[in-house]
Symmetry: C2
Subunit: 378 residues, 2 copies
């Protein structure tokens, strides 16, 4: 398959794409955040650009949306396909740049009890009177657990002996996930992700103090495949590899946020042991590569709503080799894990007077708390 | 690095190896089970072969062991290194072939309750009155569990809808590991491995009936690296990639046994959901790629003695994508999981009169059961 260069102006971002790629897809690959409310159907007209170079002939959608402007080089990025080298002028109106992303907020007091714990241990050395196994020695000193990850077991005999039995144990819910030489207990980080339909926000948290170290945000690259969840599900149903692409886009973007946070705040990615994720039910499914199509039609059935824990590795997230990903539970097809996060963050269920939690995002949700019950809608 | 062909006669098994490989290592790679009691130290003289072609000069060990026979082309396979194409004649006396492996025995009655369960479910279809998620629908019908593997979740919405909500759920300890279309509940298999120092035995078990379907055995390819566990630990300490090689040899041999059992008894490898493994503590460690060197010296400390469960995939075993491997616990450095398996199989702790369990293998162990206590030695 032939590949051609596409240059986006102003800024000059350049990307090489396969023949037949739409300008909207090329923009997404180049990291140029183009509008695309209708999910590439050519109906909203918001992805208008000017382009020079070899492109597919204009479509009826473009003639309807652009009229006379077509002869001046205007195209809809979702319709025009690359057939040779192309230079694209993107007008400000077609860009999603400069949106203000909420990064800070109020928090309530929560006792520090992270799922991942690091503890420095000075172990007694083995002797004929104390032939406990390496794992028993560590878990006895840690005071919890009866299990270990395979990688932790494999490094265990080397790490404890190289460090004179002074090591830091890393445990998740009683499972030993790693042993590190010396005292590294002060270096224990987590990243909390809010996967929004439009924006992605990552918070770097120091799990030894509970402090927020910093935050970073990015546009959700899936925006090129539709502005709202219904458009994205449409995109996915129209493209054989749609689920794969939407999933990979989000994982890549989250990995970039992790490496940005680590760089900015001098944390090594292998010091990130825990990642939590919230998002509406569709984003939640796309993040996990679960087919969300049954969310979009009657009777609106998600694949799963339980809280989930996986290894970061299984999802392709780049943190500590044995880092865990915690995905908050959904409530229903249109009441997602992000709302559950909001309820947890505000302590809504503890409020005595009837209180309304309102989440105004790309989609809007409300939760009413009264008389010890909570009702949600979207 | 240059590579050369080594041909083993009679039989003509051929293998290509890196320059400098010993004939003993080449034999192991070619699946020719050469004797090697001393673990490649050149002291036992049991790996005597006749070789033609470019080989390293004879060592002092060879001169001591072979004397005049050197001039007739005799070499010790553990000493002679490949420097060009070589043809090796292996005398019968140097082969481990034809050993009789115990494949059958007596068993006691054990109620059938395998860790893996398959159940055929006729699910009610979702409606506006029943918006349960796909996972809830399956787990409610199954009557257990609140969790699922990622791959099971990913296939779930497709499999249930393609099969009109008539599916078979596969669960391990309440975790949904797979969903299959239609009724496949009668096809649920496991393989039990006895990883001996000298021989490997695999039993194919029908987990829906508890019956043994068949058994198959092979030589432990690690034999080329030493006849007993101490020689193998010596081999591992003398070779930088020793642990890797001993581990990979065993995994490959077990994979061959699985595929042989599946072929012989018309079972698909993806119908094998559970694998159990016993072995002495050193074999147990090598199977898991855990460093066993501290077993060989005072105070004889294994890495782990607890029972362990991993995904087969993590260990490179080829069965169902989400198959689990259960590794029985060890007792101490020289009282292994194989003895624990023997205790479980015989019900030794239930016997009233003082009773001795004797395991005569490459290494020998005994367990005395009396007055509700058990004492073991080796």
């Amino acid at each position: 398959m032939r590949r051609f260069e596409v240059v986006f102006q102003p800024g000059g971002r350049t990307v090489e794409v396969v023949e037949g790629t739409t300008l909207l897809e090329a923009a997404s690959l180049a990291g140029v955040p183009l509008e695309g409310v209708c999910g590439g159907r050519g109906t909203c007209g918001k992805c208008e650009v000017r382009a020079k170079g070899k492109l597919s002939p204009s479509t009826s959608s473009e003639r309807r949306a652009l009229g006379d402007k077509l002869s001046l080089g205007a195209r809809l990025a979702c319709q025009a396909r690359v057939l040779g080298r192309v230079v694209v002028e993107v007008p400000d109106a077609s860009l999603r740049l400069g949106q203000k992303i909420l990064r800070e907020g109020v928090t309530r007091y929560v006792p520090l009890d992270p799922m991942v714990k690091k503890r420095f241990l000075c172990l007694s050395k083995p002797s004929l009177d104390d032939q406990r196994t390496d794992l028993e020695r560590v878990l006895d000193a840690l005071g919890e657990g009866r299990a270990a990850d395979l990688n932790a077991l494999r490094e265990l005999p080397f790490v404890v002996r190289r460090n004179e039995f002074r090591v830091t144990a890393v445990a998740v819910d009683g499972t030993l996930v790693a042993v590190e030489g010396g005292d590294t207990s002060g270096r224990c980080f987590g990243v909390a992700f809010d996967v929004g339909t439009t924006t992605l926000v990552g918070y770097l948290l120091d799990l030894s103090t509970g402090e927020e170290v910093g935050a970073s945000a990015a546009m959700n690259p899936q925006a090129a495949c539709g502005d709202d969840v219904i458009s994205r599900i449409g995109y996915l149903m129209e493209h054989e590899d749609g689920l794969e692409r939407l999933h990979e886009g989000i994982i890549e973007a989250l990995n970039e946020l992790i490496s940005e946070l680590c760089r900015d705040y001098e944390v090594r990615p292998d010091e990130v042991y825990l990642i939590s994720v919230v998002g509406n039910t569709c984003m939640h499914h796309l993040f996990l590569k679960l087919d969300p199509r049954n969310i979009a039609s009657v009777p609106f059935v998600p694949v799963v709503s339980d809280p989930l824990v996986f290894k970061a590795e299984e999802l392709g997230l780049k943190a500590h080799r044995e880092a865990r990903v915690v995905v908050l539970p959904n409530v229903a097809a249109y009441v997602g894990a992000d709302i559950v996060g909001g309820i947890l963050a505000t302590g809504l269920w503890e409020v005595e007077a009837p209180t309304l939690l309102v989440d105004i995002g790309t989609n809007g949700e409300m939760v009413l708390s009264a008389d010890g019950r909570m009702m949600a809608c979207s």
